[in-house]
Symmetry: C2
Subunit: 378 residues, 2 copies
Amino acid sequence: MGGDGYLGWPTAMSFAAKGHQVCVVDNYLRRQMAIETRSEALIPTPNLHDRAKIFESASGYKMEVKIGDCADYRFFSNLFKEFAPDAVVHYAEQPSAPYSMINFDAAHLTLNNNLNTTFNLIWAVKEFNPNCHIIKLGTMGEYGTPNIDIEEGWLEVEHKGRKHKFLYPRQAGSLYHTTKVLDTDLLWFYVRAYGIQVTDLMQGPVYGIATEEADIDDRLVPNFHYDDIFGTLINRFLVQAVAGIPLTVYGKGGQTRGYLNLKDTIRCVEIAMSNPPGKGQLRIFNQFTELFSVNEMADKVKRVGANLGLDVLVRSIENPRKEPENHYYNVVNSGLKDLGLNPNLLTDEVLEGMLRRVIMHKDRISTDKILPRVSWNK
Amino acid sequence: MGGDGYLGWPTAMSFAAKGHQVCVVDNYLRRQMAIETRSEALIPTPNLHDRAKIFESASGYKMEVKIGDCADYRFFSNLFKEFAPDAVVHYAEQPSAPYSMINFDAAHLTLNNNLNTTFNLIWAVKEFNPNCHIIKLGTMGEYGTPNIDIEEGWLEVEHKGRKHKFLYPRQAGSLYHTTKVLDTDLLWFYVRAYGIQVTDLMQGPVYGIATEEADIDDRLVPNFHYDDIFGTLINRFLVQAVAGIPLTVYGKGGQTRGYLNLKDTIRCVEIAMSNPPGKGQLRIFNQFTELFSVNEMADKVKRVGANLGLDVLVRSIENPRKEPENHYYNVVNSGLKDLGLNPNLLTDEVLEGMLRRVIMHKDRISTDKILPRVSWNK
């Protein structure tokens, strides 16, 4: 679900290449939102049918492509019955925090799309295959930045001499992240009510466009957004470095997050799929490999840019978001490593590879879509 | 919002009688669901326009009536702009746990109606009057029955030598109750993002049909549902006692909840409105006055029934819900008392008054709609 997305597409290729029968479904919602907000990706990507054909000719691996809206139960439940999946990877959500904060309509779309894709998946599983394993992409952003350690999904609380293990309390910093909190609440309820099995992957920001399959043909590249709305911090910094404009740090730059390489996202999903949690279980993993603050990331890009002869400046600007800019952040992420994840770290070589890729498409950069166009304070 | 409901209607009358300018809005969703599920109320209630007219002739107090869907932003935001309320009491939700568990369609309606009425209210306040006080009816059911004390909305957690105050972790026992958890998450996010002011009233099951204004004229009575879907435990027991069929206890009957009198609901809303929390605050009260287990409630009805010459039997049946039937339950509810709530307790006289009212309508009882028709296990 969400097979046209930055994560969905390379995940689909990887599973197909490992011999799985794969069906990708997408309604091109992100493409539509990107056009509406003038946030097109840096590198053009063919549509899903075309990408699947290119992938098939290049690699010999087939996948099914279905275009439709997972928030529409008639469409989605028919597809679910027909394809009869053993597992579903659910990426079909509006993924941008700034988009979710634009105005009523964008917020309304985010809330209703994200909740109903999750809801429909839960119901299709309940009605047509209760043994199907739901692999749901959550986000580390659900936890926010509490002043205590962030455990892996659950928190054993001792209070007035008694104990209870709760779902780790969540408090997110955007409506998008809040919809993921609502997803978790929904999944947790239905796991208890109907005994479905769910893995919730609490993922940090992902970087990278190289994967084993994406590297076969340039036209198989995952979406690379660098704008303020769909672009991640790293992508924005890389493009700013190449365009010769200062890297823009929001506020003090102490905001710390857990990052991971796109290759590791795919590996984590694979680990989850190969080790299902069992019926009636909600299993939660914190999915990231390294912590960096915004300032640390800016320093990295500056240093690696210099190696390529780029003169990279860094500039702090007013933070358009409401978020702590210096905070405690100590997070457990042992679950996936215990199951075999060997992290691909954010080395200078990895950053340099991404910078070189951006340089190849330098003429397509629009510098007027990188600075914040959406504010939390309006 | 939800002015036609069991709580909405008497709340509206009470505020009108205290000199407030009141507008009630409802789309008759509950009436529609009650007809669909053969769960009509015991005592007929005129439609909202007619009730408002009857109330006006009997008391001299006017109120505005608007029929429409609060989950429709065009309708709701226009009404909000036109009436320009200083405070909104939000009861406009699908309120039945069993209804929310019937099937996909009922669950879909519950999720989308409840989330979108709350979402629309938040946005109308943000866009048209950020000083408006939102008084939101939550439910004690959001907390579930954890093994530690339930605090009033928040929990200070000490973990590995550090502390953080979280929204008290919630885990509800039905999709209906889960939608209230999602509401809380949404409200808490938007309080932090946009500085709106919200009181969340975590209410237990309410009993009683007598209020100062409802007692003026029989046709002003609040809805009295006694079926398995919209009826509360007390109402089902009262009707079973009058109909001469055994009171049906679900499972072991140790399920303990915090109850309150309808008069106290109205008083709590009034207390909240007279003492707004201030901008940027989410204030949470646990709204109940007494704890009873199902077995204790059965004993009460049996005893009071006997005083009226009714031979009341009690019978345990298989629990259609998934819930602990014996559990720890210690709950703080000091906030509203500190602000002046003097509880109306569930005395034998109060129960007797309700029983007498049911006896007056004995011929309208359908005994085939009291036993559980919805199971959590299907």
